[in-house]
């Protein structure tokens, strides 16, 4: 559904953030896009959204190149950036102006979502806090019913009950026709919603695997004392001792500890690369 082919991009001529980078996102999946600060997550999302253009290579959504930047490309895609500016107007005016860009926008859904987030449509956007603005944008984005929804740090600024609401709204909105790409540092906020993990680090694709394949290949085990050399792929200190990542020798899938997995992949790139290589 979203195809990135041989992408090269840099904000300056000296430094390329992406070089010959390719990845494919399928429909019917919720992708978790993880990476350290400055690893290029937001840039990748902006490229998919057509907000910035590749220096070379391309990004194709449903057969249309992002460079076309036409109606067919844009009406089926929505991005909720981490940083945003909203115009000085009421929520109702905002919807009147911006909703017509999206064919499948549902005013009923938008009203329901706002209500779930406990926000009145009469409110003025400039008077809202960052978190409440975010809730308006999330409600708007979900109500567009676009096929590609890009969420950059969607739980940032949300209070505890709204994170629960967001999880429920995403669970209700994820259909086989749609593709969600969610970047997040708050791994626990949305972990049970993800189908697939993508870990990037400045042009390198450190992991691109479904949650179930990951769980078939590795498991997370507690150690009461420090694990021996070669006993684990990676380990770190935990509350009760140590937690390590080991090869999963059983036929059963366990639960993935995203935080430990992320740290492991960053620290032991070669080992994880070997393990998750295609055909392995």
């Amino acid at each position: 559904m979203v195809e990135i082919n041989d992408l090269s991009f840099g904000y300056t001529r000296k430094e390329n953030l992406y070089q010959q980078f390719s990845i494919y996102f399928k429909s019917g999946q919720i992708y978790g896009l993880l990476g350290q600060n400055g690893s290029g997550k937001s840039t990748l999302m902006k490229i998919i959204a057509g907000l910035i253009y590749p220096d070379s290579g391309n990004c194709v959504v449903d057969g249309i190149d992002s460079k076309e930047r036409n109606y067919n490309y844009l009406h089926n895609l929505y991005i909720i950036p981490e940083e945003f500016d909203l115009p000085d107007m009421t929520i109702a005016s905002y919807v009147r102006i911006y909703a017509p860009f999206y064919d499948a926008f549902s005013k009923d859904q938008f009203a329901t979502y706002l209500k779930e987030f406990d926000i009145s449509p009469e409110e003025k956007l400039h008077k809202l806090s960052y978190g409440n603005k975010k809730k308006v944008l999330l409600s708007f984005g979900l109500a567009t019913n676009v096929r590609v929804l890009l969420l950059d740090e969607p739980t940032n600024g949300l209070d505890i009950p709204s994170k629960k609401t967001l999880r429920q709204l995403i669970a209700a909105a994820a259909t086989p026709e749609r593709c969600f790409i969610i970047s997040t540092h708050q791994v626990h906020d949305l972990e049970n919603l993800l189908d697939h993990l993508v870990v990037i680090s400045k042009n390198k694709l450190l992991l691109n695997e479904s949650i179930s394949t990951i769980a078939q290949k590795i498991s997370f085990v507690p150690f009461s004392s420090r694990p021996a050399e070669n006993e684990t792929l990676y380990y770190e200190k935990s509350f009760t001792g140590h937690i390590g990542i080991v090869a999963n020798k059983s036929n059963e899938e366990g639960k993935i500890n995203l935080e430990v997995l992320f740290n492991g992949i960053i620290a032991q790139q070669a080992k994880f690369n070997q393990l998750f290589k295609p055909n392995n």
Binding site: N192, E253, G254
Partner: protein, 124 residues
């Protein structure tokens, strides 16, 4: 629902549904919630619930009536009990035995504790 750290979520939901059946919240013959309904309730990916339902179908706990939906199968309580018992004996009991051995708790003491526990539950 709070998910534990160790087991895949779709399997934890299988166990949760077995508990619902044993506790007679879900009965044989009941239509079960749609994939999306349960995904929203438990705040998980709908594909996870789809996997849970596949697993339940393969365990004959849930049957697919073509065109109408999924229903809790006949004799579901027996089947759910058998499944959870097997899980408990294989996964939880060894851990408990480890502690019982470590702390040197006698079977008599355990028996007494168990009686106190069940009495308390009955009074509720």
């Amino acid at each position: 629902m709070d998910f534990r750290e160790t087991q895949a979520i779709y399997l934890q939901i299988v166990e949760w549904i077995c508990e619902q059946i044993i506790l007679e919240v879900w009965h044989s013959g009941d239509k079960i919630p749609s994939v999306r309904e349960l995904a929203v309730e438990l705040e998980v990916n709908p594909n996870t619930i789809a996997r849970t339902y596949e697993q339940l179908q393969s365990m004959d706990l849930v049957v697919n009536k073509r065109g109408i939906g999924l229903f809790v199968a006949d004799h579901s309580k027996d089947k759910a009990t058998k499944y959870l018992k097997k899980q408990f004996i294989e996964k939880n009991l060894p851990q408990m035995f480890n502690y019982i051995k470590l702390l040197d708790i006698s079977m008599e003491e355990l028996n007494e504790l168990y009686h106190t526990f069940t009495n308390k539950q009955q009074k509720r």
